[in-house]
């Protein structure tokens, strides 16, 4: 079953073309990297999949798990219910700083429980246990009662992932989850995402700035340039040479100067679809 299906999605910000007729299919259980230079449309694409952003009116459609979340630039009536199946992790973590870490994680329940109970903040003992388990799973059980704003960047991002674990979504979208983190925190966060994908078969779409991480953690990579998909295929086949070809001078920001890492074996063989970049 197709987890995410995007058809002919376009988006303008002022005069700038952010997404240009993007079509993309992602199967259930896949772990996909979205790469591209700054401003290539990675974040915009992710924000369209969860319905935080709406496409060009009159065209384009995004289906998630078989039903539309947005169609022709309008949010569908089911969008709010659908969002609970789509967990989102943001570059800036987006925790509520003055609430405790545990409260932030509990907010992942809001889409699942009766709305009166959620609004009053009445969470059951079982939900609280699940929230603490989620914090243990991401390796920060000791900070549960701290204010979220007191955590380091890496801890905040792990708390944000715990929030999506509590949400028990089928899809996890991560919008540059490691762009604001130091290398060791970045690796931990990527390992947690890979583990979630492997153990719970949660479909993961991760936008990344550096192709090295895509090669190490994601079997499939979709590369964007100026709002268009310019490469879609196994991460292992996306060589630095090819990146230079695709992005020219901008390719420097995508390639880490460190030694190349061992590429992962793709779980599912995807036919390389090499769209000509300068068409």
């Amino acid at each position: 079953m197709t987890a995410i299906s995007i058809r002919n999605l376009s988006k303008n910000f002022g005069n700038k073309r952010a997404l240009d007729n993007v079509s993309l299919d992602i199967e259930r259980g896949e772990m996909v990297a979205l790469i591209g230079a700054s401003g290539s449309g990675k974040s915009t694409l992710i924000r369209h999949i969860c319905g935080l952003e709406l496409g060009h009116s009159g065209q384009g459609k995004v289906d998630v798990l078989g039903s539309a979340i947005q169609d022709s630039g309008r949010l569908t009536a089911r969008a709010r219910q659908m969002r609970r199946n789509i967990g989102v992790v943001f570059q800036q973590f987006n925790l509520v700083g003055r609430l405790s870490v545990l409260s932030n994680v509990l907010l992942g329940n809001l889409g699942r429980i009766p709305s009166w109970r959620g609004t009053l903040g009445l969470f059951t003992a079982e939900e609280k246990r699940a929230a603490r388990d989620a914090l243990a799973r991401v390796g920060i059980p000791e900070v549960a009662w701290q204010r979220a704003s007191t955590l380091s960047g890496g801890q905040q991002q792990r708390a944000a992932i715990a929030r999506t674990l509590v949400q028990r979504s089928d899809i996890l979208l991560a919008d540059e989850p490691i762009a604001s983190l130091d290398p060791s925190s970045a690796r931990r966060v990527m390992e947690i995402l890979a583990a979630v994908n492997r153990d719970e078969q949660i479909t993961c779409v991760v936008s990344l700035h550096q192709v090295e991480y895509a090669r190490r953690y994601c079997p499939r990579t979709v590369a964007l340039r100026n709002g268009r998909i310019v490469y879609d295929g196994p991460s292992s086949e996306l060589t630095n040479q090819m990146l230079v070809e695709l992005y020219g001078a901008n390719s420097e920001e995508l390639i880490l100067p460190e030694a190349p890492v061992q590429p992962v074996k793709p779980k599912r063989v995807v036919e390389p679809r090499h769209v000509p970049a300068f068409a």
């Binding site: 969860c50 935080l52 709010r80 219910q81 659908m82 969002r83 609970r84 199946n85 789509i86 967990g87 989102v88 943001f90 800036q92 987006n94 925790l95 509520v96 700083g97 003055r98 609430l99 907010l107 992942g108 329940n109 809001l110 889409g111 699942r112 709305s115 959620g118 609004t119 903040g121 944000a160 929030r163 949400q167």
Partner: protein, 272 residues
């Protein structure tokens, strides 16, 4: 930069400072406007009578001498009325803060659509632009003399002020946590409860406490038009030429208002 260039060119040790004419003209203009404004307001306000302050100083001294021997014999009664005044401010501020929460959120541009924001804002403008004394007169007519009229007057006026301050705090929030909560499938109300309110709470509490301070001061004056509390007693004793008693009441008011100011300032520091 000009000066150093001059030094380099002419070799002078003391560079000439060029006069900045636009600044000079601007300064002159500011003072002229102020002078014209003051002159224009001189005659209609009878400012020419200022000499009376000195020639007839004796009258003032005589009047003031009535206040020099405060009579505290009925201090229990004054204190009771002072407490009523504070209680008027407590209820007026509490009701205002409670109503300012929904009104403030509904008049925040980043939360509500314009067709809700505009009418709510105009309504709050109305509450704010009319002085609490005017409302007090209205409510005295409606509910009769006494503290309740004072509470209602403070409530309406303060709601207008707090709603504006609250909405400004809401408009300054970080939208990203709100977005994250929306992404969990939360409702609009839940987005506000968990995304907006925790961010603005310290400011809201601080604003409400500050208005409480102001309302204690306002409530003492409201009594003058019959809206209860110590103001009412004060005004009656001044009209009856009971100056020593009035003087005692003024001292009690001064001490209470100062105490509440200090207390509330300390409390506000805790929250910010």
């Amino acid at each position: 930069m000009n000066q150093t260039a001059n030094v380099a060119r002419t070799g002078q040790s003391r560079p000439e400072v060029e006069r900045d004419w636009s600044r000079t003209i601007w300064t002159a203009l500011t003072w002229t406007v102020l002078a014209v404004l003051l002159a224009w307001s001189w005659a209609p306000t009878e400012m020419s009578r200022w000499t009376l302050l000195f020639t007839d100083a004796g009258n003032m001294a005589e009047y003031a001498s009535g206040f020099t021997r405060p009579d505290f014999s009925e201090w229990r009664y004054y204190l009771e009325e002072m407490i009523v005044t504070v209680q008027i401010a407590v209820w007026g501020t509490f009701l205002a803060a409670a109503f300012a929460v929904p009104f403030g959120i509904l008049s925040a541009r980043n939360i509500a659509p314009w067709y809700i924001v505009q009418p709510v804002r105009r309504l709050m403008d109305g509450c704010r632009s009319i002085h609490e004394m005017v409302f007090a007169v209205l409510f005295v007519v409606a509910v009769g003399l006494g503290p309740f009229a004072g509470i209602m007057a403070l409530f309406v006026h303060t709601t207008g002020i707090l709603a504006k301050l609250f909405s400004e705090a809401v408009e300054a929030i970080d939208p990203r946590p709100v977005e994250a909560i929306r992404a969990t499938g939360a409702t609009r109300v839940q987005e506000v409860v968990f995304g907006v309110v925790p961010q603005v709470m310290p400011l809201w509490i601080s604003y409400a406490l500050y208005r409480f301070e102001s309302n204690v001061r306002a409530a003492t004056v409201l009594g003058v038009i019959g809206a209860g509390g110590i103001g009412q007693v004060l005004f009656e004793s001044i009209r009856g030429f009971y100056y020593p008693q009035a003087s005692a009441m003024l001292i009690i008011m001064l001490v209470t208002v100062s105490l509440i100011d200090v207390l509330s300032q300390q409390l506000r520091k805790l929250f910010l």
